[in-house]
């Protein structure tokens, strides 16, 4: 296969490389959309990359009051880590610090029916200092933790599923403004059920490579091949002529298919929004279990 043309963009003959991850979905409800969003933003803050944040998390979508267990407006959050233990630790910290603390919220398992679970309320309840109480409602245990506002309600445990992390598309255009506009259009098209875009606004401008050229101790460093300012300074640049800025959109998804389809939506949206160069990041194909060749994403979503 070779590259192809999609709208205004040239699509490179390459592939995105992704990894197996474990994930959970948390449903946060609150008295208003706004408070649910505050809790979700806080919970998914500083969760861009497992390398530096120990987990990757993002808002999946907002939920109407008809979709939530308690009939209030809510937000679904996806959180990814390398293993189940990691998911358990991170979700406990983040629900404890960002959801329990947020006015009017309650917290539910958004991944019911999974065989594997990690404790949530089962551990958080100790914040109740012995005054916590539990209720089994429709066969599921919940914890009522007394707090200054009243009570925080949280599910006993949350399901953990097998997901895919690190799918990506890279979007380039003649200058920063054009590339960012195309990337934003891609993000808009990619967000949805089963997808987390963990970077700020869904976009990362400092994509990385594994290791470093100049140091043995750095686990990751700048993707110098995709840095436009280094285009003539390095031998192995991947920035084509006429491309002045590139942005990467990293995708974690609940399945290989979810990631592939998000990539497809992103490529097509970007190609219709001024992108001139579309590519993807990989590690030579040796590290990741999942490969997503861009050549397979030619058909529109």
């Amino acid at each position: 296969m070779s590259g192809y043309r999609l709208g205004s963009a040239e699509v490179a003959d390459t592939f995105a490389e992704a990894f197996p991850m474990r994930y959970t979905r948390i449903l946060i409800t609150a008295a208003t959309d706004a408070w649910a969003l505050e809790a979700a933003r806080s919970m998914t803050g500083f969760a861009t990359s497992v390398i530096g944040c120990k987990c990757e998390a993002a808002i999946e979508r907002s939920l109407t009051s008809a979709e939530t267990p308690d009939g209030r407006p809510g937000i679904a959050v996806l959180l990814f880590a390398m293993d189940r233990e990691g998911v358990g630790k991170r979700v406990l910290e983040r629900v404890g610090q960002s959801v329990m603390t947020c006015p009017t919220t309650a917290c539910f398992d958004g991944l019911e029916g999974e065989d594997k679970t990690v404790p949530l309320g089962a551990s958080l309840r100790y914040f109740g200092d012995g005054f916590q109480a539990s209720k089994v409602i429709a066969g599921k245990r919940f914890w009522r933790i007394p707090v200054m506002e009243g009570e925080f309600l949280v599910c006993e445990s949350v399901g953990v599923g097998r997901g895919v992390g690190g799918g990506n598309v890279v979007i380039g255009a003649g200058d920063e403004d054009a590339a960012l506009a195309a990337a934003l259009a891609a993000v808009e098209a990619m967000r949805g059920a089963g997808i987390a875009l963990p970077f700020p606004g869904g976009i990362v401008r400092s994509g990385s490579k594994v290791g470093s050229v100049t140091s043995k101790s750095m686990p990751a460093s700048t993707n110098h091949q995709m840095a436009p300012t280094l285009r003539v300074q390095v031998d192995d640049t991947l920035v084509p002529d006429g491309v002045g800025a590139m942005f990467e959109i990293v995708i974690d998804g609940v399945s290989e298919d979810a990631v592939r389809e998000a990539m497809r939506r992103g490529l097509h949206a970007a190609s219709g929004a001024g992108a001139t160069h579309l590519t993807a990041a990989n590690f030579g194909g040796k590290l990741g279990q999942f490969h997503f060749p861009l050549s397979e994403l030619r058909d529109p979503p």
Partner: protein, 258 residues
């Protein structure tokens, strides 16, 4: 196919209906169910003599009982799974000491709904009972876990010596409720006067109650939206026990009592 028992004749005396639970009827055809004996006064009577039986015990374990069953005690008692739907009133001890499954009664229930048998410390240890009408005295006595939700009122002494679990009465919890209650929740949709062993704590929107009321609605109770959204007064007690139980009383905002 659901197993349906429709009452044809009133029994001559009170009947112990406890054997008629889905888990014991599983795999039985209509004639085998009709041949089962029930205790009736000092005698026994065959199910088929009292009921028209149709369908068979199913994998889904659903049993429908229809008719005026006020002479039938212990409907759904000790059941651990499946579902019983009753179309009519029932006698005492419905769902007594049940540990799982669902009993839905579209009618009134007698005394000791979901309660402990005499001498037993714990009554219901799981499952859900929904009654569209009223319930008699001492509903949920000795309850350890589970839900009893009544659309109308409960008689006196609901939640007597309750260990935990929840008794909801949308039409109001009756007098002298929650005596000796350790960790249980009594929920009254109408104003009531708690026993002196309870003390007013606060008014709030209990998040767990919202889930329970929605669940009761799912099981067939007519739950007013105002109850789901509204504010409830929390009274803590029994203070002669652990003071960890609660009576929640719907506060419609018209009446502020302390």
């Amino acid at each position: 196919m659901t197993l349906t028992l429709a009452l044809r004749t009133q029994p001559p005396a009170r009947v112990l209906a406890a054997p008629m639970i889905p888990e014991r009827l599983r795999g039985l055809n209509a004639s085998a169910v009709a041949a089962l004996d029930l205790g009736c006064g000092g005698e026994t009577v065959a199910v088929g003599d009292l009921f028209a039986v149709s369908g068979a015990g199913t994998e889904e374990e659903e049993l429908v009982l229809a008719g005026d069953l006020r002479r039938f005690d212990g409907i759904g008692a000790c059941m651990s799974s499946g579902e019983i739907e009753v179309r009519g009133d029932v006698g005492a001890w419905a769902g007594a000491e049940m540990s799982g499954g669902v009993v839905r009664i579209f009618g009134d229930a007698g005394a000791r709904l979901g309660a402990a048998y005499p001498g037993a410390r714990a009554g219901m240890t799981g499952g859900e009972i929904v009654v569209s009408g009223d319930a008699g005295e001492e509903a949920g006595a000795g309850m350890r876990r589970g839900l009893v939700a009544v659309g109308g009122r409960t008689g006196a002494g609901a939640g007597l010596r309750m260990l935990a679990g929840t008794v909801i009465a949308l039409g109001g919890i009756g007098a002298e409720a929650g005596l000796g209650n350790k960790r249980g929740s009594l929920v009254s949709g109408r104003p009531m006067e708690p026993l002196p062993a309870y003390a007013f704590a606060t008014r709030f929107r209990p998040p767990a109650l919202r889930l329970q009321l929605r669940r009761a609605r799912e099981l067939g109770l007519n739950v007013d939206e105002a109850l789901l959204r509204g504010v409830w007064a929390r009274w803590s007690g029994d203070r002669t026990e652990l003071t960890r139980g609660e009576i929640l009383i719907f506060d419609d905002g018209e009446e502020r009592r302390e």
